[in-house]
Amino acid sequence: MNLDGGAVLHADPEKVWSVITDPAVLARTIPGCESLEQVGDDSYKMQVSVGVGAIRGSYAGEVRLSDKEHPTSYVMHASGAGAPGNVRATVTIGLAPTGEGTALTYSADAVVGGPVAGVGQRMMTGVAKRMAGQFFKAIDDELTGAVVRIAAAPSAEVRGVETAPAEAPRVFAGNAAAQPSLSPDVQTVLLGVGIGGLLTALGVALGYLLGRRR
């Protein structure tokens, strides 16, 4: 499936970078994010718990970044799996200054497999777009100071935030934790943005399907 979209973020590109490079911000703006863990250069593991209504499911995702052209664009390679299906995606993300602040665009090319692939393209893209929209709204709220907690995994554990350099695994907690801000880490930023646009969409779609199972 192909998913193209964008968002307008109300801050200049530098402010946007500082917010979206904050892993604590990402951990609480990506719907359902439980933890983010750096496992190598440009590569991360994420645990997401998402659902609709009373339905929850936990999914493991991996992301790798490439083709970084700071500060205008990069490519993210993501994959995720859960019982109802799996996804592999390549997402191209662009950032450009505009009158209102920053225009962010994303273009995703995804291959979805397993039962979740059977729900029909319009429903899948509809759900993905909706979740992407939710994520970018949350980012925008962070930027404008109107921080809104997205209901995600309230019971997620708060893990300690590493301040050491990148050798040690860097793990960032979910929404429940309030974290001191860290020096911007572009990779985490980019990871977060990409995941927000895609994996959470997958997760929710999976969640829909999980909820339909009887």
């Binding site: 039962p115 059977g118 729900v119 029909g120 319009r122 429903m123 339909r212």
Partner: protein, 802 residues
């Protein structure tokens, strides 16, 4: 002594479950299945601009939404043209889900799957489809005028020019002593069974197989279509018709979009999916039939004998032609009826309109044909001042003229050759039954009561039992049960009983031991379907042949066991014995065991068939060369051509000149379907057909307006006859057996409906003295017609509500 049940009014076996609420219809199956529902076009002709599902995503219980973009491979191709024909020069079919364009109200645009039907409909309500409306064509006149087109690449809206001719009709007309011409219309109606369509699909992911239940008349062919479209091997698909609540033709066209989409969803989602349509869906997406405009020119001598007949007909085939031109062919070939027509030409233009597809409804073009021929007879009689029965008599094919070749090509691709019949006999019985010669007296009596009275009649010949074939499998089990299966389907015709009667009679077993299965591809894989009054002719004969095969084998084995000659043996009450010596034989169930040489005895009875149970002949193999284990036989009946049933109806109507209400005070039927397996069932078929004939003549029409909107898509406004609308019917029978098949059977399923419109139109005309040139006709329309001398037909008669 077993009573021979063939020909007896045996009470139906299926009624045991159907009167106690234990039928198993499509919607009774699959309680845990997901439910499908459809977003259907509200426009008769439009381009789809956008399909927005955003608002639907919030509905709790939503599982999937499919549109054309989700169809891949062969599913993305148009639906098949089931019956191609060289004269069908512009066939067009739709897609399972609309591909950018919709061409009739009701065409499916999106399929929704949800946890139950209520929720699925909630989702459908929230899906927003944006359309660009396009010009609409409704009714054959608008189709011909072609100010707008249904398909961009069919500029004249004609899908086919069907032509059948037996000579130079124009020359013959020029040479005729008399000619007359007229135009008449008949409007659209539909089968409208009490149960709509439905599909249930289950995909077994472990063995990668699909099981589909469908309320269909052609399960074998649906199976082939699903396998082809979903790109599955045929052996991975089974289709079963469960109990079906009526078909009358509407369930013969296939594959419905739903028959493909529901299995597709079941596979994609890994769960059972079920769809049962509601009544409005049925009105706007299941098939209709009947609408035609007919221009007839006939040449005849001063005695009323026809010398030439030219019929030019425009047939409304709806938006697509999945069923080809079968109805035009049937109209063209059956129009000649029981008459000698020296020179004949039929030209049927099959026209596209922005309405629901047109595929067979009981009669399948014959009612229209009968209407054309019989009203021609009426006009000849009128012109010459002759009695209408007498004119018909003078034109009838005589009993000694069979087989009679009408020199036409029928819907089975074979010649129209009437195999047997006695049309003279039909007419004589009819005039006696209805009291044709007493009508003048009845009219005077009615007049004294201030009422108008009229009589009408119509004769028909019906080609039934077209091929290519049907098959039968008869198997005797070691338990004594006799299993019978055939591939065609049942929708209430009593096949479980009629076919059991055949086997009970052929095999000499109690009917209680016989169990019949129809329409299940797991049980019988080669079949065509139930239509054209063919089940008794085709499956009846095939099953008889299969039973005879079993009988022959049983006698052969018994001859060995009883050390007698097979010709000295008979089967009575399931026991094979020497003729006339009860108590000394061997039961069929034992022969069934013995027919299957065993190594392992799984029960006590089976011990008889094991290797040490009795003296064997060590020089011969246990199963002889060319033989097979088991007491069973499969056989097929494949006819060289169709057989021709016939009949005649007469109607007496009384009309109240104040309200113009039309009451049928007498309805007489003479009916010839050859050999009857179960006369009670045959009569039931006649009763049901007559009710549909009366409905079509006086009450039923699909009221499309010029925008292609169906104004009466419910039982509140589409007038299905209740008991109060259906007259009592008196029936007489005639039997002219068919020489074409072993049992001598001709079909009976459609007979009751064929002449209704013609006979009733004739009677109303006789009562009022007013030309009736469009049917159906309501009291209001009759009133308007009576007041307007210049009107040629009723205001709605051309089939478009204005």
């Amino acid at each position: 002594m077993t009573t021979k049940l063939f020909g007896e009014p045996v009470r139906r076996r299926e009624d045991v479950r159907l009167t106690t609420g234990r039928g198993r219809y499509l919607d009774d199956i699959g309680h845990t299945a997901l439910a499908a529902a459809f977003v259907r076009s509200p426009h008769a002709h439009a381009r789809i601009v956008d399909i927005d599902v955003e608002a639907a995503l919030d509905v709790e219980g939503l599982v999937a939404i499919y549109t054309y973009e989700d169809l891949t491979g062969r599913m993305a191709e148009p639906l098949p043209v089931l019956i191609p024909h060289p004269q069908l020069h512009a066939p067009r079919t739709g897609y399972p889900l609309a591909n950018g364009v919709v061409r009739h109200v009701g065409e499916p645009v999106a399929m929704v799957v949800a946890t139950d039907r209520y929720i699925a409909e909630d989702v459908c309500d929230r899906i927003v489809v944006t359309y660009d409306e396009l010009p609409v064509v409704v009714g054959v006149d608008a189709a011909v005028a072609a100010a707008a087109t249904v398909h961009d690449d069919v500029p004249d809206n004609v899908s086919a020019h069907h032509l059948q001719e037996t000579g130079d009709v124009e020359a013959a007309l020029r040479g005729a002593e008399n000619t007359l011409s007229f135009t008449q219309y008949v409007e659209r109606s539909a089968s409208t069974p009490m149960e709509g369509k439905g599909v249930h699909a289950r995909w077994d992911a472990d063995d990668k197989s699909l099981r589909v239940y469908s309320s269909t008349q052609a399960s074998t062919s649906v199976r082939a279509a699903i396998a082809a479209k979903l790109e599955l091997s045929l052996d991975r698909v089974e289709v079963i018709a469960p109990d079906v609540g009526g078909g009358f033709g509407v369930k013969i066209v296939h594959p419905w979009p739903e028959e493909l989409l529901v299995p597709m969803a079941a596979i994609a989602l890994g769960q059972e999916v079920k769809w049962s349509e509601d009544r409005r869906e049925h009105f706007i997406s299941a098939a209709h039939e009947r609408q035609q405009k007919q221009e007839i020119t006939v040449g005849f001598d001063d005695d009323g004998r026809i010398t030439a007949l030219d019929a030019h007909i425009w047939h409304d085939n709806g938006a697509y032609t999945p069923y080809g031109i079968i109805i035009p062919i049937i109209t063209a070939t059956q129009l000649v009826g029981p008459y000698v027509i020296p020179v004949y030409r039929a030209r049927v233009e099959s026209m596209y309109t922005n309405t629901v597809i047109v595929t067979p409804y009981r009669g399948a073009g014959r009612p229209q044909a009968c209407y054309a021929m019989e009203r021609t007879m009426d006009r000849i009689a009128d012109k010459l001042g002759l009695d209408r029965a007498e004119v018909r008599r003078r034109n009838l094919i005589q009993p000694d003229q069979f087989p009679y070749d009408q020199q036409l090509i029928f819907q089975d691709g074979r010649p129209v050759i009437y195999d047997s019949g006695n049309y003279q006999g039909l007419l004589e019985k009819l005039t006696a039954l209805v009291g044709w010669d007493d009508v003048a007296g009845l009219r005077a009596d009615a007049e004294s009561r201030g009422r108008l009275l009229g009589a009408g009649m119509a004769l028909y010949v019906e080609g039934t039992g077209p091929g290519p074939y049907e098959g039968g499998h008869v198997q005797v089990l070691g338990s004594g049960k006799v299993l019978v299966s055939t591939g065609l389907t049942s929708q209430g015709q009593g096949h479980e009983t009629a076919f059991a009667q055949i086997v009970a009679t052929e095999l000499g077993v109690p009917i209680e031991d016989v169990e019949v299965t129809t329409g299940d591809t797991r049980r019988f894989g080669y079949a065509v379907g139930t239509f054209a009054s063919r089940a008794a002719v085709m499956s009846g004969n095939a099953i008889a042949l299969a039973a005879r095969g079993v009988r022959e084998k049983a006698l052969r084995i018994a001859a060995d066991v009883l050390e007698a000659d097979a010709t000295d043996l008979e089967i009575d009450e399931g026991v094979v014995q020497v003729k006339g010596t009860p108590g000394t034989g061997v039961p069929l169930r034992t022969l069934a065991v013995l027919s299957n040489p065993l190594r392992y005895a799984f029960d006590e009875a089976a011990q008889q068939a094991t290797q040490f149970a009795g003296p064997g002949d060590a020089s011969l193999p246990p199963v002889a060369v060319g033989d097979a284990p088991g007491l069973e036989h499969i056989d097929y009946y494949s006819p060289v051509r169709s057989t021709f049933a016939s009949g005649a109806h007469a109607v007496i109507v009384e009309i109240d000149p104040a309200t113009w209400e039309i009451e049928i005070v007498k309805y007489a039927v003479v009916h010839d379907c050859g050999t009857m397996i179960n006369p009670m069932i045959v009569e039931g078929q006649v009763h049901g057909g007559v009710a549909q004939g009366v409905g079509g003549a006086l009450y039923e029409r699909m009221a499309y307006d010029a925008d292609g909107q169906l104004q009466n898509a419910s039982f509140m406004d589409f007038l299905m006859p209740y008991a109060s609308e259906v007259p009592a019917v008196v029936i007489d029978h005639q039997v002219t057996k068919s020489p074409l098949n072993p049992l001598g059977i001709k079909g009976a399923g459609e007979a009751g409906v064929i002449p209704g419109t013609a006979a009733i139109a004739s009677a109303i005309e006789d009562a009022t003295g007013r030309r009736i040139a469009s049917m159906p006709i309501s009291p209001t329309e009759l009133y308007d017609l009576m007041r307007d001398e210049n009107a040629e037909r009723t205001a709605r008669g051309t089939g478009v509500l204005t």
